[in-house]
Amino acid sequence: MNLAELPLLTVPLDLKAHQMARQLAAVQSTVQKGKRVYLNALAVYAVHSYLKWLQIETDLNSSDSFNPAKTALANVGDLVIPGIGSLECRPVLPGETTILLPEEVIENRIGYVGVQFSDRLDSVQLLGFVPSLDSSNPPQQIAVAELMPIDTLIEQITRLEEALAFLETDDPVAVQVRAQIETQSQSNIVAQLERIYRTCEEYEWRYAAGEMLAGSIASGEFTRESADRADTDLQDLAEALLEKLAGIWRDAA
C-alpha cells in the first residue's frame, strides 16, 4: 500500500488544543520535555477531534497524555476510548520516516496512529494506523511506510465494540466467559482475542486464546491433574469464544 498516493485527512488544531498543550508543557522540567509533551498533546487532540467527526466518544481527561504528572513521568500519547481501550497517537515531524515507540506505550494499547506535523501547527494530517502489536516481542519503531490507511482504525474500534457487545449477550459462551473472567477487564480480553484473530493461524487459536484466558483467571490450588483438566476446559472455552467472534467479524467484513 503506497500511502503517498492517497490524500490524507487534515485535522485543524484550534486554540483550545494549543492552550491545553501549553499548560502541560509549562510544568515540565526542561524545554525538550515540554516540547515532547506539547506535540504529544496536539497529536492526541487531533485524533480526538477526528473521532468526534465520526461520532466516536473519547475521554481526554482520563488520558495520561493530558495529565501533568503522568506526562512528566513518561513519554505518552494515549487517548482513552471509554469501554474499549487506549489508542496511542504519535507525532511524526517533518522529515521523519519512522515512529519511535517508547517502552511505556507498547503495552495496553489497541493500536497506534501516526500524526504528521508540518512547521505550521494550525493543522496536522492523519498518516495512518497499525493495530496492537505482539506484546511479547514488540517492535521499538514503526516505519511510516508500514502504516495502514486510517480506515483500519475504524475497523479495529468497530470489531472491539462488536466483541464486547457479544460478551454481554445470553449466548452460553458469553455467559461462561463472564463467569470465568476475574482479573482482567473485558475490554482487555477482547483486545487480546482480536489480536490473536488477526495475527495467528486458525490452528493456533485454541492454544493462544486458552493461554491468554488462563492468565486472566485467578489461580487456585490445583493438583497437576486438575490443572491439566482446567487447562483443557479453558482451551475449549477460549476456542468457542474466538470462533463466535470470528463469525461476527467475518459476517461484518
Binding site: P12, Q19, V27, Q28, Q32, L54, Q55, P68, E103
Partner: protein, 231 residues
C-alpha cells in the same frame, strides 16, 4: 453526473442508510470527509480561530449530512455551498465585536501585504517557534510538577526510592531507575539498564512497573497534582 458527483452521492446514500455506530456509516463518513477536504471552494480565513470554525463544521457535517439536498445539477457544487453556508456563519462569528482579535478575513491576501503579513498576526504556532514559546511558558509557570519531581528524585528526602529494590539487587533501586528513565531527555532502555546492573530484564521491568511507577505517582499526588489542565 461526473465521477466525483457519483462518489459523493453514493457516500451520502450509504450514510443515510446506516446507523451512526456502524462500520458502514463510519467508513462512508471517513471517505466523505476526505472528499470534502479536497473540494475546491471551501471558505478560508487566516483568523486564529479558523481551525476551530473548520473543526466545528466537520462535526456539523457529520451530524446533519442526512438533511443535505442537492439543489443544482452538480452534487459537489451544491455540497460546497451547503457547507459554506454553515462555515460562513462560523467565520462571521469570528468577526463579531466581542472577539478579541477582529481581523479582516475574506479580503484577498494581497491586500494585507505591505503592512504586516498575516502569519505575524497569528499566535506563535510554528514548530520552529515552539522552543521559545515553551521556554517562556515555563518561566511564567509558578508551580512545575516536572521540576518538583526532578528535585524529589534527586534528593529522595526519605530514601523512599533508594530503599525500594528487588531482593539482593540494591543498585536496581527506584531512585537510580527514575534518574535514568524519567530525568533524562532520552531515557535508557530497560534492556540496557538490566545489562548494566546485571539484573534480569523481567526483574527490572516488573520492579519498575509494580513499585517505582506507583511510588512516583504517589509522590506526584503528595506534591499536589491530581487535576487535569482546564480548557
Amino acid at each position: 453526473m461526473d465521477d466525483l458527483d457519483g462518489r459523493l452521492s453514493a457516500l451520502i446514500a450509504e450514510i443515510r442508510q446506516n446507523p451512526a455506530n456502524s462500520r458502514k456509516w463510519r467508513t462512508a463518513m471517513n471517505k466523505l470527509l476526505l472528499e470534502i477536504q479536497q473540494l475546491p471552494g471551501l471558505k478560508k480565513s487566516v483568523h486564529q480561530d479558523y481551525p476551530e470554525a473548520l473543526n466545528r463544521t466537520f462535526e456539523w457535517v457529520s451530524r446533519e449530512i442526512a438533511k443535505f439536498e442537492p439543489r443544482q445539477s452538480s452534487v459537489s457544487k451544491s455540497l460546497v455551498n451547503w457547507i459554506n453556508g454553515y462555515l460562513g456563519w462560523r467565520i462571521q462569528d469570528l468577526h463579531s465585536p466581542d472577539k478579541d482579535a477582529p481581523i479582516s478575513l475574506n479580503a484577498p491576501l494581497a491586500a494585507d501585504i505591505g503592512e504586516t503579513t498575516r502569519l505575524e498576526l497569528l499566535p506563535d504556532v510554528t514548530l520552529s517557534g515552539l522552543d521559545g514559546m515553551i521556554e517562556n511558558a515555563q518561566k511564567e509557570s509558578t508551580q512545575r510538577i516536572g521540576l518538583e519531581l526532578k528535585l524529589y528524585i534527586e534528593q529522595d528526602p526519605e530514601d523512599k526510592l533508594k530503599n525500594s529494590y528487588p531482593r539482593s539487587y540494591p543498585e536496581c533501586n527506584c531512585q537510580f531507575l527514575s534518574k535514568r528513565r524519567v530525568l533524562q531527555d532520552h531515557p535508557d532502555k530497560f534492556q540496557d539498564l538490566a545489562e548494566e546492573l546485571n539484573v534480569k530484564y523481567t526483574t527490572l521491568n516488573s520492579h519498575w512497573k509494580r513499585k517505582c511507577e506507583p511510588s512516583l505517582q504517589e509522590i506526584a499526588r503528595s506534591l499536589g497534582y491530581k487535576q487535569e489542565p482546564q480548557p
